[in-house]
């Protein structure tokens, strides 16, 4: 018996991206889009309308968010992982030196990040619940709370009770990448480990909403499955599903593309810049008030160009290695393409007519 978003997924399982010009134009001029309209904007036919989409996405973003970009950075706590994800630098099969931060090291990393002016942080761990346990994560949250306005998590999937514990310890947001919504491909790229449970991961964002998280961020790893349009569609449909049911929660989207890493995995498809832009623009029209996040997986040049197209949140001063902010890190989860420091990112944003926002919540 399917429940939650799994039911919604089944409803749209055979969605087509073969829209006509007329369907694209109709979707482009609507103020509230249906999932079918969104699919039309993701279609090959919509590629001819990217400029019109961009104009509308820009206008909607300025209207709802202004000319501001919220900055954050990730803090990797532990790269021990029991999953064998074929595309990930932290896979249990990767022969890399592993690191796990002790609480004093967590605080040192936190202080180093806070010194850059950032007040929003994303804590990440590999899937090793015995080492990066809920107790450990709760301790990390308590240690970092005085230094930050917002503490977000990108960790292994939990149930509602698990998220509730971490929310009580100070986490206010969570990020969950389903990686690919295609269950067959999901099984192929997750041959072993707890992450292999597709449905448990699929239910995690809703569990976080029910647990009282203030924000939930979703994404699919573009390029992992051969049909990027399908993954794009289901990522935003998942967000739409949560927006409808949990209006009190900030639902946002990320647009990660496969990046080179320590393994030999090759992307199933090359998701081009044009494809990425189409996904971002269509998402802004489908979810006009949702935050859209862009990570340092993308180059500085591309990130600068994507600024006016709907993006509201960016990472800066990034290290994807455990201990990377205090200079102790070695292997990263993936190669970053935008190596700008927080200060460089701020001045670049100002040059482009955007205000860098370091703080957008007052912890209570």
């Amino acid at each position: 018996m399917l429940t939650g978003f799994a039911q919604e997924y089944r409803r749209y399982q055979s969605i087509s991206f073969q829209a006509t010009k007329e369907q694209v134009e109709q979707a482009l001029h609507k103020s509230q889009l249906t999932p079918d309209d969104f699919a039309a904007l993701l279609s090959p036919a919509a590629e001819a309308y990217l400029e019109a989409l961009a104009q509308k996405a820009h206008q909607l973003t300025v209207q709802h968010f202004g000319r501001t970009i919220l900055l954050y950075t990730p803090l990797y706590l532990s790269d021990y992982c029991s999953n064998r994800c074929l595309y990930c630098g932290f896979s249990s099969q990767q022969l890399i030196p592993r690191h796990h931060l002790q609480l004093d090291q967590v605080e040192a990393e936190g202080k180093a990040i806070a010194a850059s002016g950032l007040r929003h942080i994303l804590l990440l761990t590999g899937d090793a619940p015995k080492l990066a346990s809920l107790d450990y994560l709760a301790d990390c949250l308590r240690i970092l709370r005085p230094h930050f306005a917002s503490l977000a998590l990108e960790i292994y999937a939990l149930d509602t009770e698990g998220y509730r514990r971490l929310a009580l310890a100070g986490a206010d947001q969570m990020t969950m990448y389903q990686e690919t919504y295609n269950p067959v491909r999901y099984a192929e790229v997750h041959p072993s480990g707890p992450k292999r449970d597709y449905h448990f991961r699929l239910a995690a964002p809703e569990a976080a909403c029910q647990a009282g998280m203030r924000g939930v961020n979703l994404g699919a790893l573009l390029g992992l499955s051969a049909d990027w349009r399908s993954d794009a569609f289901f990522t935003a449909l998942h967000a739409h599903y949560l927006v409808q049911r949990y209006p009190e929660v900030d639902i946002s989207l990320s647009f990660p593309r496969l990046r080179p890493h320590g393994g030999t995995f090759q992307a199933a498809v090359d998701v081009s810049d044009r494809n990425l832009v189409q996904f971002i623009l269509a998402s802004r029209l489908f979810l006009p008030r949702s935050g859209l996040t862009l990570s340092t997986r993308e180059s500085a040049n591309l990130r600068n160009h994507l600024l006016p197209l709907g993006i509201t949140k960016m990472s800066a001063g990034v290290s994807t290695a455990v201990g990377g902010h205090t200079g102790e890190g070695e292997s990263g989860q993936f190669e970053i393409a935008d190596r700008r420091s927080v200060a460089e990112m701020c001045s670049s944003l100002r040059e482009h007519g955007y205000q860098p926002v370091m703080k957008d919540w007052e912890p209570l």
Binding site: Q63, R289, R350, Y354, Q355, K359, W361, E362
Partner: protein, 258 residues
């Protein structure tokens, strides 16, 4: 010179209140204030970082302008109250705009939670300006709760759609013995003018200025429109008639034959 608006113990000669969000650079704010003539500016406490004075939006607010911290981000009365107390403790004064929104889709305010927060904060001595949907019963409850004004929305926040709730706002103006400040939705100076013509005490807006191609010129345009609308209200517009009022009436012969 317009008659001043009395609010929270202050005499305000400008009836245009402005917001401070959505600008590419907070350094624009003093010029926006100057061009709008506004004497009240609302600031989202969630964006105020008191631990970083150089990155603190408050550094850009002119000293003679009344600061109106808002509880943007609060999803219930308890969070709004805590934010208000934090603002006061941080030296932001005792004015507070209550903004309780538990619906991130349409950003419509929660009237029940707003009344609760108003009651608590008014009792603590805050000058409470609650942002609400224009609902008469909620507005009456806010009067009882000790609000200094009622701030109904003209349209959803940030929508620039104008006075979509005009009839409901008119009822509040007629029935509520507090200043009615139209807050949210106003997108053009003509819409602010219309709200003031109806008898609104003031207008509060942000997106309309911040999202304009020339925010400074738009701020000035709003300043004029609010003055104009208020003057029209005070002047008392002539009544609207169903039929023409002829200067040579058809029944004039009756007067002549008497």
């Amino acid at each position: 010179m317009m008659e001043p608006l009395l609010l929270g113990g202050r005499e305000l000669t400008s009836r245009l209140f402005i917001g401070s969000g959505k600008y590419a650079d907070d350094a624009l704010i003093p010029d926006i204030v100057a061009r709008s003539g506004s004497q009240v500016i609302t600031v989202a406490l969630r964006r105020v970082d008191l631990s970083n004075p150089d990155r603190n939006i408050l550094a850009h607010i002119p000293a003679d302008v009344q600061l109106l911290p808002n509880t943007s981000g609060a999803r219930n009365a308890e969070e709004a109250v805590r934010l208000a107390r934090l603002a006061k403790a941080a030296g932001c004064g005792d004015w507070i705009k209550i903004e309780v929104i538990s619906d991130q889709k349409y950003l419509l305010p929660d009237g029940f939670e707003t009344v609760k927060a108003t009651e608590i904060l008014a009792a603590e001595g805050f000058v409470v300006l609650p942002y609400v949907s224009p609902d008469l019963m909620v507005a009456k409850a806010l009067v009882k709760a000790g609000a200094a004004a009622v701030m109904p929305l003209g349209a959803p926040i940030g929508s620039n759609r104008g006075l979509q709730t005009k009839e409901l706002i008119r009822i509040l103006i007629e029935e509520i013995p507090l200043p009615i400040i139209v807050d949210a939705g106003i997108g053009k100076p003509s819409q602010a003018c219309e709200a003031m013509e109806m008898g609104a005490a003031a207008c509060l807006l942000n997106t309309a200025i911040a999202s304009a191609s020339d925010p400074l010129l738009m701020a000035e345009a709003f300043a004029h429109s609010v003055i104009s609308g208020r003057q029209a209200y005070l002047a008392g517009a002539g009544s609207i008639r169903q039929y023409a009022s002829a200067s040579s009436p058809l029944t004039g012969f009756l007067e002549a034959s008497c």
